[in-house]
Amino acid sequence: MPLNLEQIQFIDRYLKNSGVLYDDVRAEYVDHIASSLEAEKESGSFDFYNHFKNYMIKHKTDLLKRYEKSETRAFWFILSQLIKNAVNLKVIFVSAVVYAFSYFGIHYTIKQYLILPILLLALFSVFWMVWGRKNIGKKTLYQYKLMMLIFAFDYFSLQFFNPNTSNWNLYLLGFYIWFNVSGLYLYYEQTQRMKFIESVS
């Protein structure tokens, strides 16, 4: 006999409070624990809280240790996907178009090319804050790592824009656009892939 919704939500909340923050990973752990408890339920007398407590005493340390490793692996996976996506034809094409618009649109007015990256970073920061606030606890591991990576890159690369060397800015702007388009494309791919993830809580 399956666990009821309240019991499932209890497991979900417990894992969330234990630091399993990402919906996709947590949903999988919830299903595993629930399936295990249901098997025990079928085999005899069953007290949900007691059985759950015993289960967590036995498995919690190992589970959380592996979860941390998954986080590190997710970072490297996302970075490799980002690099892989950078040579995707669609990404190169969109980047080239954005770059061309930036070049012809801005070159003759603001030669230092500072306005576009600053504007993009500002927009991105606002998006991040609004999205992050709305989706706390409702994000997937890969999406979160990706957002952090792009945000860190944007913030870091801004330090290198130099108002006195327009050629350098030109190269940097190209790389900046390329990286961000690749990141946004990957984010879109991840969103499409993970669109089924919904919170059970």
Partner: protein, 113 residues
């Protein structure tokens, strides 16, 4: 996982083989199937299973399908085309390993058979 050091390196192969045989499976089902097939000799802990599944998924060997079952989401794994090829290769590799080990550890048995 019990007897961890010996079995650890074979976890991916075990998963790929099971999925090749069963089509699609979810995490808990995999642990139970392994337990059943090995008569409780090998028990895969969830802490080892899920990172292995996620790695295979990230490598493009597994595809996923999610369904809502009994008030919760259930993630099923199945082999991609690349995963099917990989499982064949990994099994062949494991068979070679086993036969080498057998030749080393049980030479008499091999000669007599």
């Amino acid at each position: 996982m019990s007897n961890s050091k010996l079995y650890k390196g074979s976890l991916s192969t075990i998963i790929l083989k099971l999925l090749a045989d069963e089509g699609k499976m979810y995490g808990y089902e995999i642990t139970q199937k392994v337990k059943q097939l090995t008569q409780d000799e090998l028990q895969i802990k969830e802490g080892a299973l899920y990172p292995a599944l996620h790695k295979l998924e990230a490598d493009g060997l597994l595809d996923i399908e999610v369904k809502k079952v009994d008030n919760r989401l259930r993630k099923y794994y199945k082999l991609t085309e690349k995963g099917t090829q990989e499982s064949i290769g990994k099994l062949a590799e494991l068979e070679r390993y086993l036969s080498t080990m057998q030749a080393l550890l049980l030479p008499k048995t091999k000669l007599s058979s």
